[in-house]
Each structure stands twice: as structure tokens, then as C-alpha cells.
Amino acid sequence: MAVTILGRLAARAPVPVFVAMGRDGAPAIEHLLKSGDIDFTATPRHANILLVAGRTRESDQPYLDRLHDQMPHPRATFWWGDAHSDDIDEARRSASADDPVAPLRALYRKLIGGSYASETHRLSDEPPAPWRGRGDHGQGGEGMMGGVPYGRMMPMPPTPDIRDGLALDVYRTQVGPFMPYWPAGLILEVTFQGDVIQSAEVVQPPYPPRDIDREPFDRLLHEQTPLAQIERTRATHHLACIARVLSLVELPTLSRRAQIVAARIRANETVAIGPLRKAAARAGLMAAIKPGLGRIDDDLACELGGPVRRAAGHVLDSRNDDPTYTRLGFTPVTQKQSDCQARVAQWFDEAEQALALASAAPHILIAQGQLAEPPWALRAPPLDYRVTELLPGLEWSEALLVLNSFDSAALCRMAPLETP
């Protein structure tokens, strides 16, 4: 009896979901955020449902299996968006158009109620590295530590230390594609010393930017699109990036608020960004990001284009040579030093400016093919500069800030697929 009461109580609790962000999975997240009774967890261990939002690449399947096996029972996977494997029954799949909240809640209630079998392990769990001990107590052997007569005596670090000359052990690991607040799909092979990054290489590039951000710009190429819609998309894209930076600086409520504002802008409601910006400033967002963190030189900023270039102070924006914009009194907004702080401030300024333009000209149409330079349209070729050259020497939290200070298109171009 008591179990059922607890069961019923548990079923009413917010649904613990761990999100594996696939390609253009973001709209699902905005739906979930608005509903409010979905609880996004930081690790798969705290969740019962693994939500795979959007399309994932075939090469990500082993990572998904590993995530899935870490989840405690009762557990289930929920595919959102056009899942390529269609052998999954209806309860755990939903098309990318509709709102995933209701099916998620129903699935969760069934899971808790026990009427839905929890999924079994996908990977067998024997330790990856074989045991190579040689000593009589199983210790020693080459590469394995274990006292004078048997093992390697001293930890001989391969790379000299970059800080204070104390060459200690380095730790090499892969940071996976589906971590929260990690550019979706990116896999880095990072060598740590303590929590300072010594070196990093790209194993897998991040997913290309979200279709929903590019859709009005693509449509513009072959037919007229309303100016308001283009500016709204730009504002929502910037707000989503700001939300990620906010949650990295331990302001979860503000980041949730930013995402909700983005969702409402997408639903064509008129929303002011001013109060959000003031709240973030009061909470010390700019103070938390170290000035000079992630500074990139000017020519790289120019190549990347878009907000990154304007954050470096170059007044180059394809909109100011467009007649409709000049009539509305459009002057490009720029910052001075091109580091994380400048890029976040640039996002805020551009979002506010975009909303002002959108509200100023709700029905003006832009002629076809005018605005050819949307920064996050992935047509530009990848650069030879790697984002991983920015990371060495940074602490883990700062490195995450730097990674998230570039929008997804810039990141794709700076972290193309290495041809090992």
C-alpha cells in the first residue's frame, strides 16, 4: 500500500529528463521549458528518461548507449524528432513538430507505475583495460605502479608542465558529445593536469547550426520574407547563446528566464529584453567572465564574421547597405576588445536592436536575395585555425565559457573534422 502512495506521489513530481542534444533539437527544449514540470538534470544518473532531441549521427550511437546504461532503473529513452530507427513503438517517439511534454509525462507515469518495463543494459560491463599486475600481490608490471621491485617507480609525465615546473601526472580523456552546456555533438580529446587543460584535439566536429535559425535566411534567397521574422530569428538565436552562458555562471533561474523569453519571441509575442539584461548585470554576469578570456585576434574575427566580427569592433554588417534598414535608422552595434565579455555584450545589444527593428517594421518585406550574409549559414569554408588552440592553460570552467562564447556556426568552422 505505502509503495503505491509513494508511487503516485513520485508520478506527480517533475519528470527528470537528461537531454542528449542532437541536430536542431533546441525547439523541443523551449517547449519543455515553457511547460515547467520537466526537470533537466546535469547527469544521466539523476534522470529516468533520456530525451534524444533531434537527429543524431550514426557515430554517436556508442555514446548514447553509454549514457543509457548510466541511468538508474526504471528508465526509458524518448526519441524526439525524426528518429532514424523506426522500430521503436509509439509511446517513445514523437515527430519534431508537436510538443513533447504530454507524451513525456505519460511515459514517466507509466514508468513509475511499473506498467512499462525498464530498459535493459546495452553494453556488457567488463573493465576496458586488462589487468597487467606481475607482483605476488597482483601489483607492478610495466605501466602499472607498485613498489620498487615491480612497477614503474616514478610517474614520468610525457609533457612538461606549463605552469610552475612541477611536472605531475597528466590525465587524458574524451569529453563527450552530449554533456549539458557543451556544444552539441562536439567531442574533444583533452589532456588535463588537475583541472587545467594542457592540450586538446577535436575528435568529432559539432553539429551544424540549427535549421530553425537558418530557415528565414534560406527562404530569403528565393522569395520575399518579412523583415520582422528575420530579426526575431536573430534575437532568439542570440538569446539561446546567452542562456547557455548564464547557466555556466551558475545563474540557472536567469538562464531559464532567457530561454522562455526566446520561446515567446519565437511565438511572435512582443517581449522586452531590458529587464533580463539588467538582472544579469546586477548578478555580476560581466564581472564573472574574466576580461581578456578567449581573446581572438582581429583577422580571425573578420574571417568568422557575424557577431564575432562585430564584437571585435569592425563596423561591417551587410544590413547597413540595405535600403529598408537604412530607412529605419539602423547603425551596426560593435564592442571593442573581442573576448568572451565583448561577445556576450554583443549578443545582448544585437538582440535588443533586432527586437526594436522587428517592432518598428512589422509588415515591411525585404526583396529577394538582399541579405546574403547570415553569419550562421554554414556555407563558408572551415578555417585552418582550431578552437583548441584557445584552450590550453585555461581552467575547465573558463574553457567551457570560451567554447560557449562562439555561436555554433563559428564553432563548426573552427573545429572541422580532423583527418587523422
Binding site: 546535469a42 583541472d195 564581472a287 564573472a288
Partner: protein, 232 residues
């Protein structure tokens, strides 16, 4: 274990002039020992996870926890000076005339910073923050995680109760009976702590370390000197 520590922290808080759970005449030193053991326990929680993010979280917590503990000990010693005793009931009695928060203005804010960092909330959330995927609690789920969250809240209340009794004159108050005052003050301090959690952003550990060692620690020295001069 963390919960037991939080419980022992609350034990020495005097509820009223007569009743106190643990009448130690070395209350402050016991609170210092509780803080030190909390740092050890949280490190163990992170280290036992045997995962890289758990370990990073544990190390960042220790790096920030040790200096902050020094600051809190200076605050408490400063509060003990006018009372000429280490025992908490005497400290509360010494505030019958004037509360410590007025006599030693700097004490309460620094002690609240300690409260945040001890239960790693808000701007001091270096142990379980989201950027290291849940930090020390990354590999924990189900019942142990429930206990871990409960212990964090218990430690927050212990710090609030301690701050209330040391700086705001625990059970002293005109109309209401003793314990009611204590509960009231602790509740207000908890409220302050929780909104601090939401409001302030977290700077990176290395900058926070320099901030603590170069500004907060000298500040607490000055506070101690000020309290000493006052108590002469």
C-alpha cells in the same frame, strides 16, 4: 556523514538561556572542527566517485573551502572576545546589551559567505556545479543522492543558526520566548542565504582563490583587530 556533521553543528547552538544540547565550553573550536571535517567529507564524496568530474569538483571545493574556513574562525574568535569565553551560551549572553552584528559590522556578511561556501550554493558552488556535470554528485542517484541534498540543506540551516546565535544574539529578544526568537532569526538568515544563492554569479576558481587570499583574509584580520580594540 555530512548530515551527522550538520547535526552536530546545530547541537551546540543554545536554544534558550537554560537549554542547550551540548554544553561545551569550547563551542567555537567544536564548530571549527565541524567545518574542517565537512571539507574532508565533501572531498571524500567527490573522490570516491572515481570519475574525473567528481574529482575536479572535490578538488575545487577543498581549494575554496580551506581559506574560507580560516576567515570563519577569525570571525568567531572576534565574536568570542567580548564574551571572554569560547562557549556559545556565554557569547549569546554577552550580546544581551548590544548585538554583535552592530558591534562588529563585518562579521555577519563574511560569515554568510562561509555559509554559502560550506554548503556549496550559489556563487560558491564549486563542488556540484553544472559545468562539471553535477560534480561530486555526478555518480550518485537514488537514496544516497537524497541524503546528500538533505545534508546540504541541513548544513545551511546549521550555519544560519550559528550565525544567528553568534551575531544576532540567538535567543535574546524582548517579547517572544527564547526559542521563538532564535527560529525567527535563523529563518531570516536562511532567506538571505537563499536569495544570495540566486543572485550572484560564480567567478572561476582561480580568480576566487586570489580574491579570498588577497582581500577577504586581510579584511578578517582587520575585523579581528577592531574587535580586539573594542573589547579592551
Amino acid at each position: 556523514m555530512y548530515a551527522a556533521l550538520a547535526g552536530s553543528g546545530v547541537a551546540i547552538v543554545p536554544f534558550s538561556s537554560a537549554s542547550v544540547l551540548a554544553d561545551l565550553e569550547v563551542g567555537i573550536v567544536w564548530w571549527g572542527a565541524v567545518e574542517a571535517l565537512t571539507v574532508v567529507v565533501v572531498f571524500l564524496h567527490g573522490w570516491s566517485a572515481n570519475a574525473q568530474f567528481g574529482l575536479i569538483g572535490a578538488y575545487r571545493y577543498v581549494a575554496i573551502g580551506l581559506p574560507v574556513m580560516l576567515i570563519s574562525m577569525f570571525m568567531l574568535i572576534a565574536a568570542a572576545l567580548p564574551a571572554e569565553s569560547l562557549a556559545l551560551p556565554q557569547i549569546v549572553e554577552s550580546q544581551r546589551g548590544l548585538w554583535n552584528v552592530i558591534r562588529q559590522p563585518l562579521g555577519l556578511p563574511l560569515f554568510l559567505l562561509l555559509g554559502l561556501s560550506l554548503s556549496f550554493r550559489g556563487p560558491f558552488n564549486y563542488a556540484d556545479s553544472a559545468d562539471i556535470a553535477g560534480g561530486t554528485a555526478a555518480e550518485v542517484s537514488g537514496a544516497p543522492r537524497l541524503v546528500w541534498e538533505f545534508a546540504r540543506l541541513a548544513m545551511l540551516t546549521a550555519v544560519a543558526a550559528m550565525a544567528a546565535s553568534v551575531f544576532l544574539g540567538g535567543y535574546l529578544g524582548p517579547w517572544l520566548p527564547g526559542p521563538a526568537w532564535l527560529v525567527l532569526k535563523t529563518a531570516t538568515l536562511l532567506l538571505v542565504l537563499v536569495c544570495l544563492t540566486e543572485q550572484l554569479a560564480r567567478i572561476s576558481p582561480s580568480r576566487m582563490m586570489t580574491l579570498i587570499w588577497t582581500t577577504l583574509l586581510p579584511l578578517s584580520f582587520l575585523h579581528l583587530v577592531w574587535a580586539g580594540v573594542l573589547a579592551l
